[in-house]
């Protein structure tokens, strides 16, 4: 499957991704504004909790000199949401594609790929808006979008791998869908999005938040966007390794299971 058919039928992939983008905000008044309002509202909620309820102070950006929790929060939230929303949507898209899968022979993995591509477009827009808001705090960081793009390629591989595995398994066991909701929350809170690793005293929590799969790419993203520094080689190697491994494993699982989709639905 994957890569070869994806290239062979890239027109289908393109149109499926386009469909995702075009139909996402149908029948809503604010439309695309929602893709920005959602992270924005979370930013406000968590900033109040972090700064006012728990009385914590924002980390200082190593090279940027920033001292701004809302921006720190968004630097980690945006890549994480890209990951979690993609997986949730992919599970739904494969499930919702039942009538098509039963009637048409086509590369099923496109149902997953198209979601990830549509989410990439979304995070692209969000990152540009984020960069503009950094400007208001006197920090110019557009050049950092280049390493961020490379990081996103790796996160996309990781995301696609998880999405392939879970969306295929969900065809056979619908529990996966609910289980994923819990796992996604666990990953969110174990990643250093609403806290700063250096402020955590527990060694174990610090380790997981730094080197857990989600924590690792959240750290890298914060380093690039908020600190204005290149992540370490170890960081890149770590992300590259688990991203590629996850993608290969996910693709293998999907390949094993997808021939049975049509009869399972």
């Amino acid at each position: 499957m994957s890569i070869r058919t994806a290239l062979g039928q890239r027109n289908l992939l393109y149109l499926l991704s386009q469909k995702e983008l075009r139909t996402r905000y149908r029948k809503s008044i604010l439309g695309w504004a929602w893709s920005l309002l959602n992270p924005l509202s979370q930013m406000i909620i968590f900033s109040i909790i972090f700064l006012k309820v728990f009385n914590q102070s924002a980390p200082t950006g190593a090279a940027s000199g920033l001292d701004n929790f809302p921006l720190y929060f968004l630097s980690g939230l945006l890549p994480f949401q890209f990951f979690s929303i993609s997986v949730t949507a992919a599970i739904g898209n494969v499930q919702g594609g039942a009538s098509l899968i039963k009637k048409v022979a086509f590369p099923h993995e496109h149902l997953v790929f198209s979601i990830v591509i549509a989410q990439l477009v979304t995070i692209g827009i969000e990152l540009v808006v984020l960069s503009i808001s950094f400007l208001f705090f006197g920090y110019f960081m557009f050049q950092w979008l280049i390493p961020m793009a490379l990081l996103l390629v790796l996160i996309s591989l990781f995301t696609t791998g998880v999405a392939l595995a879970l969306s295929a398994a969900n065809v056979f066991f619908h529990d996966i869908n609910y289980l994923w909701g819990i796992v996604a929350q666990l990953m969110f809170y174990s990643s250093p999005i609403i806290f700063v690793p250096s402020q955590v005293t527990s060694e174990a929590v610090r380790f997981v938040s730094n080197w857990g799969p989600a924590g690792s790419f959240v750290r890298a993203s914060q380093r690039i966007l908020y600190d204005g520094q290149m992540p370490s080689i170890e960081r890149w190697a770590h992300i590259a390794f688990f991203s590629i491994a996850t993608f290969v494993l996910g693709a293998w699982i999907f390949n094993k299971l997808s021939p049975r989709f049509a009869e399972e639905f």
Binding site: L16, K19, R22, L100, V104, A105, F106, R260, A262
Partner: protein
């Protein structure tokens, strides 16, 4: 429907080869579709295997129209889905040497919120077409669907007729060399069904290959040049469509008499009707248009000299209503004596039959109409398609002329 180019480029003596294909389904007794149940069952689902197909093998030659018949649950849809690549066989394999498309459901993959235009592109891509190919055929598709400015409205606003027309327009323009069709012809109105039929006839005349899965014996008899009868997942009989269909309908014991397709014969056989031909413009046809001049030609053999035999034909709807039943006696054309073989031509001008399927019975009797030499019930069926009249109700058109007047009436 999907277009798959699994062809290897080399010319082969088959368009599609099915070799020893078996397919089983798991019938779950207690379907463990939750993880808890799955784990509780020790990581195993308890199921029974159901053999939908058992060791099925056959070839489809290029340019052939193959009909696959069988009762419900005979495995014919499973076979079609295996050929289409939707289901994976447990054993055996399927080779395709032509660009193949499978038409299982019209409009599978249409998205309600998108416009007709967007859906054309998306649907055609799902069926395997490239961007340039779609762009090239777009106008043709829209013309065929006949939607006018509605093409830019979301398809959820379409009537079911518009929806099906658009879906079919996309499907047929995928331009495959090998087409697999499920019983989709049963959808849409009569006019639409004819449009489909016409497309399929064109398709055949262009030398393309067709595989048709249906339980309608008449379609197989009229439309295919080879038939396979599938029974409980294996091939019960294959060969000439008439033979297979006869055997099939006989075994079904008239369980499906809805289209009255079984040929019934009675009489002493001193004269027999051997074949019945329909001619339009001197050319044998299976179908013609409303308003055509039709000649029904009966080929008969008198096995001994017979005095004043009366020939009669009876054209009826599938529902059994006789439309017309001319006989040589009323026309005063009964021959004094026949022997050997010959033909009877019944020429009818400007045939007013409206578009649908009809059945034709023939009869040869003595002059008193009491003695039956040969009666052929359901000698053949034929289709009439929209011609000079576009009416769809009733059985015949009486060539009406309409005049509507009034103070507030505006002409279009």
């Amino acid at each position: 429907m999907a277009l798959l180019d699994r062809s290897n480029g080399a010319s082969s003596d088959y368009a599609l080869r099915v070799s020893n294909v078996s397919k089983t389904f798991r019938i779950h007794q207690e379907r463990a579709s939750s993880l808890k149940a799955f784990i509780a069952a020790g990581g195993r689902n308890r199921y029974e295997e159901f053999w939908a197909l058992t060791d099925v093998s056959f070839d489809v030659e290029p340019g052939q129209a193959l009909g696959i018949i069988g009762h419900n649950g005979s495995g014919k849809s499973t076979l079609l889905k295996c050929m289409a690549g939707i289901l994976t066989p447990n054993a055996g394999n399927i080779e395709v040497t032509k660009r193949m498309a499978a038409l299982l459901e019209l409009g599978a993959g249409f998205h309600q919120e998108l416009s007709g235009r967007d859906n054309v592109f998306l649907n055609a891509a799902i069926l395997g077409m490239g961007r340039k190919e779609i762009a090239k055929r777009f106008d043709e598709i829209v013309d065929f669907a006949d939607l006018g400015q509605f093409i830019d409205n979301p398809v959820k606003t379409y009537s079911s007729g518009m929806y099906v027309r658009l879906a079919f327009a996309v499907a047929i323009n995928v331009d495959p060399e090998l087409l697999l069709i499920d019983e989709i012809l049963a959808v849409g109105d009569v006019t639409f069904q004819q449009k489909c039929m016409e497309k399929f006839v064109d398709f055949r005349q262009q030398g393309r290959t067709l595989v048709l899965v249906t339980h309608d014996a008449t379609t197989v008899r009229n439309f295919c040049d080879r038939a396979i009868w599938l029974d409980h997942g294996s091939i019960r009989m294959q060969g000439d469509p008439s033979d297979v269909v006869d055997e099939y309908t006989e075994t079904m014991l008239g369980a499906e008499t809805s289209d009255g397709a079984e040929v019934g014969r009675r009489g002493d056989g001193k004269i027999t009707i051997d074949t019945v031909e329909l001619l339009v413009g001197g050319v044998p046809v299976d179908r013609f248009h409303t308003g055509d001049d039709l000649t029904v030609r009966l080929h008969f053999t008198a096995h001994e000299p017979i005095e004043t035999p009366v020939f009669e034909i009876n054209i009826a709807s599938l529902g059994g209503a006789t439309v017309t039943a001319p006989s040589s006696r009323q026309a005063d054309r009964t021959p004094a004596r026949v022997s050997g073989s010959g033909t009877v031509d019944i020429m009818m001008q400007n045939v007013p039959l409206i578009a649908q399927r009809y059945v034709l019975h023939t009869e040869v009797t003595g002059y008193g109409r009491q003695h039956v030499y040969d009666h052929l019930q359901n000698a053949r069926t034929f289709d009439v398609v929209t011609g000079t009249s576009r009416e769809t109700g009733g059985l015949v058109t009486l060539h009406p002329t309409w005049t509507i007047v009034g103070d507030g009436v505006e002409t279009a």
